[in-house]
Amino acid sequence: MSLAPQDKLSRSPIYRQLAELGAEFAEVAGMACAMGFGGGLEAEVEQAKSLAICDLSALPRAGFKGREAQSWPAAQGLVISPDNNMSLVQDDGALVARLADSEVLILSDLACESGLCAAITQAWSPDPDPGVYPVPRGHTNCWFMISGGHADALFAKLCGVDLRPHKFPLGAIAQTSMARLNGIVIRADLGRADVGGTLAYHLLTDSASAGYMWMCLLDAMAEWGGAPVGLTALREMDT
């Protein structure tokens, strides 16, 4: 039986919209996460290969900002890109995004097997002053994944940055305007490229505008028959 989102203290900002679409919820990291929409795993995987959106707001994420935003996380064992606006996948599947010299963003893997976000948050202490400080990304931003062969065309309806795969490489980050909101876009294809991975992007934007952004994305993807999918389908594709 599907978990009721209101049974948990932490709730996705769009849980009502997901419920109206027939989402089946299960607990992920203390929040009810939409795992599927009743159409079956195979159908949702096919959808995700064409064009789909998944609410990842339940998954752990963390941010750190300050003058030591590169050195301190590196000292905790994170592998960080030498270039700004690039991300690297860690050994445990987490994604570390270098947003600027003074800021990093850490996203959990889809399977939530990485404990990196929790570990690094626990490792931080204000004393002695570490020169880097936590950014509450888990609540400041909502987090969606958009996947499928039409994903770049979808973004072209919302964003002026060229996100086509041959112009926006795997791991690249765009901090830009998306439907008139500030957004962080990270290319993070599902599965392995050498065996026909699926084009996919993380999108993080203002959590208070999550409902607005969700509607913008659904409206924009209707042209290609895009639809929401649950986390289960993305996990299946990311193995």
């Binding site: 209101q6 948990k8 203290l9 932490s10 709730r11 996705s12 900002p13 009502r16 929040m31 707001s57 900002k65 300050g66 003058r67 003074s102 204000p126 002053d129 020169g131 880097v132 400080y133 950014v135 509450p136 888990g138 609540h139 400041t140 931003n141 065309a153 072209a156 309806k157 964003c159 002026g160 060229d162 086509r164 112009k167 439907a179 008139r180 909101l181 203002d206 959590s207 208070a208 505008s209 409902g211 607005y212 913008c216 409206d219 924009a220």
Partner: protein, 970 residues
């Protein structure tokens, strides 16, 4: 099949298997799928599409491709639809515009009889004095002017926008454009080829380049096939490029979508506008460009007339004559203004078919059918000089006059990009002198008129553009054309007639005499001529009037065309709808985590910045009672308000306290951990810009609140200043990270205590302005003991994903006390009772702290804060107004409204900023600016309210309620 319909293969765009019925002016018509409104009407013998703007003269097809205003019609709510571009659809209802009593019997035509009383610019001379009949004239003009009728209740359409990116953009899918696209694509770059018509081909779709039409048709098919096989060329047809903007940003309109295309290099291959000839009655239906006649025949299978006179000043005109003959039109003669010379192949072919060719002649006058609804003949005369004709030589009966006397490059995009052009007398055309970087031109717009020359030019431009975009384009393609390069443009196709009706500008009904009269009146500069006469200002924006008017102006003023110049062409190239510009109208809205609980509780929402917040709860019919009930709940019991929208900013680092000390007016270096302190922000000029509280959770960590509308600006201000100060701080905008509620009222502690195990809430453990971190209902929380509304109160900030759960828990815990949510309106009154100001309500763009009686928030001993020096100067100069609290002398007087003025004699000395009836105090209270000498407690002053009524107010001490602060410090 109607009598004007031609059999296949004529009609490349129509599908004879799909008949379509529509109506025009209430009459049913039939056509085929692929017909435009104009082609279907012409096939049915209807030549009149519209009435001209000023004289309401009947007008018909002129260009046949949407480059003139004759074809503007209305379809339902859509005004100004181009009938020669819009395809017919089943059931379509088409109406004429700018007609009174219908297109057929437009009684606006009587204006034509008043033409002599409406010379050019007459309105400037008639309507410039203050004059009582203006009201009547205005009503009349509103009826007479305008094209189309807007329906203000029209349903919004669905429009869309999409970004496109490419290496090379080619605008124009004719021979030059196709050649350019293919050449550029050879280098491997991405090419987007944009064509405004439904198919590629351009002039190859309708023109007759040779006596035998087959070679050109094969060339067309080959080019299109090659393009379709080339993977790195993306073709957009039925797509209009409507302008050029900086860095090769191009708006393309296709259907209901606007593409925003960014290209590294752009090739303009947009072709040319065929130009009219000026003669008496040159505007009648049945007089059209030669290319329009060819479009009707080849694209739509419509014979444009039965008997034609063709004006041919170039080989293309003879091609028109050949097409008309092949379509079964009786060509009475070809009128060729040029002296006889060695004929081209097409001219020979016409002559071989027995058509008389009369050289060095022009049309002096077209003979109108009844009501000017068509043509019945043409009078031609020998040309005796530039623009001069001998007495009439001959009269030919005809119902069609097809004109091919030259071209004017479709160079609009080049002008938008500030390309330089000049008039070349030998070419009798404007030619490109200089193009800006990353922009190229090809084809007839670049003076390459013949097919071979256009193809060569396209290859050259494609090669150059690919190279410019950074690709290896190989060797420059060699020119293959051996064309003579003779100009197809007749230098002076303007033959004024003493009786007028020789139109230079069809849109504005301007005749040659109008242009000359404007110049004679002194408007001899081309910019003044345009604005005084309105030449070129109509819907077709000078496509056909620009050349003749500048030629006439040059001759009249004794200058060359280059010396005369042209007016500036700016985007848009063609009309564009507001729907396209708006797209899907992204309007972000921010909702708190508790938003849905407000809706469930019956909240009436209001806009606060980008947020929606509850104004009050309950039935709008009982708004005032609802707000009073919310106020009393807080004063007597316990209320709860969602304050999630307030800004939240984390300031971390060893210099955090020093940073706040400089940013805000108060003192923060010694603020203890666990305490909150008021923050007041001023700008460099000392003006109050924001306020809030700073909570110190650690020596190196402050959590600072800001107003809902000011949060983003406060964050930016902090970043701006620290970019200069370089203090060791890190500023993080955490506004959306936290949901916040304020639970306030004498029973607030009782309710909160049920949910809070790890923070002692009594007055000693958590005094007024204390802050703690703990848990409420199991949720990690920041608890701030605060009193904006003047009662015992706590602001609780939790991670936003848990905000709804917090609200639910507090509402459940407060049930025994009948906890009540309250909204902004109740909060406004509650804080007013405590005399607390609201930034941007009780302050304005000039208010400094001394005026607002906020001197208590200025730290006296610190060396610097933003605005300190300005405030000191203002204080030394003395204040000019002061914010005071007031009540009404007569309790039953109506409450003044915000911005009602404080008046003393003839002087305005201030204004009301906040005012409300206080249920708690049972009287009207308010805040107002008054003159300093009016600000003493007990002083009376007057406020001017509605209807000019003056009421008396009295200055009282603040706060109005609980002056000792006992209730908030429980």
């Amino acid at each position: 099949m109607s009598s004007a319909r031609l059999p296949a293969p004529a009609g490349a765009l129509i599908d004879r298997e799909q008949p379509v019925e529509f109506s025009f002016e209430g009459r049913r018509h039939a056509g085929f799928a692929g017909d435009t409104i104009a082609s279907a009407l012409m096939a049915n013998g209807e030549l009149v599409l519209s009435r001209s703007f000023k004289y309401h003269r009947p007008r018909g097809v002129l260009t046949g491709c949407g480059q003139d205003a004759n074809s503007l019609v209305q379809i339902g709510d859509q005004t100004n639809v181009l009938a020669d571009r819009r395809a017919i659809e089943a059931g379509m209802v088409v109406e004429a515009q700018n007609v009174f009593g219908g297109l057929e019997n437009d009684y606006g035509a009587w204006l034509g009889y008043l033409a002599r009383f409406m010379p050019v610019g007459f309105y400037y001379k008639a309507f410039y004095k203050s004059y009582s009949p203006w009201r009547l004239w205005e009503k009349l003009f509103r009826r007479l002017t305008g094209l189309g009728v807007v329906n203000p209740d029209a349903v919004h359409g669905y429009y869309d926008k999409q970004y496109l990116f490419t290496d090379v953009a080619v605008i124009g899918g004719g021979p030059a454009g196709m050649a350019a696209a293919l050449q550029a694509a050879k280098s491997g770059c991405e090419v987007i080829l944009v064509e405004e018509n439904k198919t590629l081909g351009g002039a190859l779709n309708y023109a007759r380049f040779d006596a035998d039409p087959k070679p050109a048709a094969k060339r067309r098919a080959d080019l299109i096939a090659k393009i379709e096989r080339t993977d790195n060329i993306r073709v957009l047809t039925d797509a209009l490029c409507n302008g050029w903007f900086t860095d090769n940003w191009l708006p393309l309109f296709q259907g209901n979508r606007m593409f925003k295309l960014r290209a590294a290099a752009v090739i303009v291959a947009t072709g040319s506008y065929e130009q009219p000839m000026v003669f008496r009655n040159n505007d009648l239906p049945g007089i059209m460009m030669g290319s329009a006649a060819q479009r009707m025949i080849r694209l739509y299978g419509v014979r444009p007339g039965k008997r034609a006179v063709v004006v041919a000043a170039n080989g293309d005109g003879y091609g028109v004559a050949l097409d008309l003959l092949d379509a079964g039109v009786d060509v009475a003669c070809v009128v060729d203004p040029r002296p006889a010379a060695k004929p081209c192949e097409r001219q020979n072919a016409v002559a071989l078919r027995g058509v008389p060719i009369i050289h060095e002649t022009a049309i002096a006058e077209a003979l109108p059918a009844s009501g000017n609804r068509g043509v019945v003949g043409a009078r031609i005369a020998r040309i005796t000089g530039e623009g001069q004709l001998a007495k009439t030589v001959d009269r030919f009966a005809c119902d069609l006059i097809a004109v091919s006397v030259g071209y004017h490059g479709t160079a609009n995009l080049i002008h938008h990009a500030r390309g330089k052009m000049s008039y070349d007398d030998a070419q009798a055309a404007f030619v490109i002198d200089e193009l800006p970087a990353h922009l190229f031109a090809a084809g007839s717009v670049n003076g390459a008129y013949s097919l071979n020359a256009a193809l060569d030019d396209g290859h050259r431009a494609g090669w150059a553009a690919a190279k410019d975009a950074g690709f290896d384009a190989g060797r420059k393609p060699a020119s293959k054309s051996k064309d003579s390069g003779a100009s197809p443009n007749y230098p002076w196709p303007i033959f004024a007639h003493p009786d007028g009706k020789d139109f230079v500008d069809f849109d504005e009904d301007l005749q040659t005499a109008d242009i000359l009269n404007a110049i004679a009146e002194g408007y001899d500069n081309i910019e003044l001529l345009k604005r005084f006469s309105t030449v070129g200002m109509g819907p077709s924006q000078g496509r056909h009037s620009s050349l003749p008017s500048v030629r006439i102006a040059a001759k009249a003023t004794g200058k060359t065309v280059n010396q005369t110049g042209t007016t500036t062409s700016r985007p848009p190239f063609s009309a564009e709808t507001f729907g396209h510009l708006a797209g899907r109208s992204f309007e972000p809205v921010r909702l708190t985590a508790i938003h849905n609980r407000h809706l469930e509780a019956g909240a009436k929402l209001m806009v606060a910045g980008q947020w929606l917040r509850p104004e009050y709860y309950g039935d709008p019919a009982t708004r005032e009672a609802n707000i009073r009930a919310e106020i009393m709940a807080v004063r007597k019991n316990v209320g709860i308000i969602d304050v999630s929208t307030l800004g939240g900013i984390e300031v971390h680092g060893p210099d955090a306290a020093e940073f706040l000390n400089r940013i805000y007016t108060f003192a923060y270096l010694k603020q203890p951990v666990g305490r909150a302190r008021y923050v007041l922000m001023t700008d460099q000029s000392g003006v109050i810009t924001d306020d809030g509280v700073a909570c110190r959770f650690h020596d190196n960590h402050f959590y600072v609140t800001a107003t809902t509308g000011g949060a983003a600006a406060v964050y930016q201000t902090m970043l701006f200043y620290n970019a200069q100060w370089r203090l060791d701080v890190c500023v993080i905008n955490s506004t959306a990270s936290y949901a916040g509620v304020n639970i306030a009222g004498p029973k607030a502690r009782d309710v909160l205590a049920r949910l809070c195990d790890d923070v002692a809430l009594d007055g000693e453990a958590l005094p007024y302005m204390g802050v703690r971190e703990g848990h409420v209902a199991g949720i990690a929380a920041r608890i701030i003991r605060i009193g904006f509304v003047g009662e015992l109160g706590y602001e609780i900030h939790v991670p936003s994903s848990q905000g709804e759960a917090l609200w639910d828990a507090l509402m459940a815990a407060g049930e025994p006390e009948n906890i009540k949510p309250f909204g902004i309106e109740a909060q406004r009154v509650l804080r007013l009772e405590k005399g607390h100001i609201i930034i941007n309500q009780d302050t304005d763009g000039l208010t400094h702290p001394h005026e607002a009686d906020m001197a208590w928030a200025l730290a006296r001993k610190k060396p610097y804060f933003v605005g300190m020096r300005s405030i000191a100067i203002q204080h030394a100069n003395g204040i000019e107004r002061k914010l005071v609290g007031f009540t009404l002398v007569e309790p039953d007087d109506p409450a003044p409204k915000e911005c009602h003025l404080v008046i003393r004699g003839a002087e305005i000395t201030g204004r009301v900023t906040s005012c409300a009836h206080s249920e708690t105090l049972n009287k009207v209270i308010g805040l107002a600016y008054v003159a300093p000498d009016q600000s003493e407690i007990g002083n009376r002053f007057e406020i001017k309210i509605e209807q000019g009524r003056m009421i008396a107010a009295e200055v009282v001490a603040l706060p109005f309620y609980d002056p000792d602060g006992k209730r908030q410090e429980l």
